[in-house]
Amino acid sequence: MPTFFEKKQLVTPGELLAEGDYLPGENTYTEENKIYAQRIGLVDSDNKKVNVVALRAFYMPKVGDIVIGTVTEVGFNGWTVSIKSPYTALLRASDVLSRPFKPQNDELSQVLSQGDLIVAKIASFDRAHDPQLTVGEPGLGKITRGQILHVVPTKIPRVIGRKGSMISMIKQETGCQIILGLNGVILVTGKTPEDEELAITAIRKIEQESHTSGLTDRITQLLKESKVKVEE
């Protein structure tokens, strides 16, 4: 029962990955007992499951995901939010206002207007309906300061690290608050712009070298060295 790849090999859509007793994992599909790649990415197998970590993919909403989005339209009873996904998200006014919503009295654009950034959670989504957002939990809501950076959504897990080790380390070394939207949007809020820049540099490096090993150590080293420079 053969596989046709080396660990972490770069594969393109349609490349034959395995034949026989294997299961199709992320970004793969099966046709007549053969498993093929669906996207360009790095292939690996986990037991009997063949996965491709896509190097280029868009975000598909999943219920419970934390995302960072931009308000694109103020509607009659809510806002349209762009979450960098094929599907536009909706945030209902009733979710934001802690009291019953009166269209005549409440001016929605006073609460959130076009261009505002929000951190929200996907409350519901099925492909027949656009994703609904909620901000009714602590830590969610309008973003007022900080810097935004965009990464390919598939890299977010690497930024988090095993059991959150990577992201905790960055937060600690830079003193920044970092919110990771699973849709590939990251908010970095620090005490000084320099602290924010440092965190951003670290995250960009992770994005570029996400496939390599020993990354956590190298990032730690990068951050410590930069701090020393600042202190000099």
């Binding site: 770069l10 393109t12 859509p13 349609g14 490349e15 034959l16 970004n27 599909y29 046709e31 093929y36 669906q38 996207r39 360009i40 790095l42 896509a54 190097l55 280029r56 993919a57 868009f58 094929p86 599907y87 536009t88 492909r127 027949a128 570029q208 070298e209 496939h211 390599t212 090993s213 020993g214 190298r218």
Partner: protein
């Protein structure tokens, strides 16, 4: 206006542009050339210069064109007015309308349309310079643009034409051969699935010649397919492991 050549293939079997009967023109592929598109590719095939851009999957505009149960692929094949010897009007010609349709139909089999209902992928193909075989080069570019956009695909789609010039079945006709030759057979193919997704012919061929032309075109397709994979891998070539 060029003079009509006497012979398109000489006694030694060499064509006017120096190629043998089964030789491909030079092909150059580049992925990710347009920063504002979700995916893009640039193809030079012989003297053809083709730019393709993919946007999506995204919300369909106008909304009523969206399909409740599937993603919609829209394709526009368009030739720049300066792409051909006699300036071509920018308005879509009937040929461009037909080619937009057959190119779209050559790419749809590669997509998992049911995965993203109510969305659309817009493909724009611009022929900057044309020299025979533009629909094939367009498909080759379009497939790369779609893959570059991160849209899941069953396989890359690759295309190449074969045909008959004077008495010989040849691969990859350029403009003069297309105009003065006996037949032209463009073929689009998904090699991993052994699937022909575009097939057209104009001219006259015996059934045997037709079979030979299709086989020849598929050999050409497979060669270009390897180049497509290389082009994608080149763009996404990951940084080499840093030495510890």
């Amino acid at each position: 206006m060029n003079e009509k050549p006497d012979k398109l293939i000489d006694k030694k079997g060499i064509r006017l542009d120096g190629r043998k009967a089964d030789e491909l023109r030079q092909v150059k592929l580049q992925v990710g050339v347009l920063p504002n598109a979700d995916g893009s590719a640039y193809v030079e095939h012989g003297k053809n210069k083709i730019l393709a851009a993919a946007f999506g999957p995204r919300e369909m505009h106008p909304k009523h064109l969206a399909q409740a149960d599937r993603m919609v692929l829209r394709c526009r094949y368009h030739m720049a007015p300066f792409s051909v010897p006699e300036r071509k009007s920018p308005a879509p010609s009937r040929r461009e309308v037909e080619l937009s349709k057959v190119i779209r139909e050559s790419l749809e089999p590669a997509l998992f349309l049911e995965l993203y209902p109510r969305t659309g992928v817009d493909l724009f193909i611009e022929v900057l310079q044309a020299d025979g075989g533009t629909r094939c080069a367009s498909i080759t570019a379009a497939a790369l643009a779609i893959a570059d956009a991160g849209v899941p695909m069953r396989d890359l789609v690759v295309a190449c034409a074969a045909g008959k010039v004077e008495d010989t079945v040849v691969l990859d006709l350029y403009d003069a051969e297309d105009k003065l030759g006996v037949a032209d057979v463009p073929v689009a193919y998904m090699p991993s699935l052994n699937a022909v997704t575009l097939l057209q012919m104009d001219g006259i061929l015996t059934p045997d010649e037709f079979q030979k032309a299709v086989e020849m075109a598929m050999v050409g397709c497979k060669k270009i397919y390897e180049m497509q994979k290389e082009a994608l891998k080149t763009k996404y070539m990951v940084v080499k492991e840093v030495e510890e």
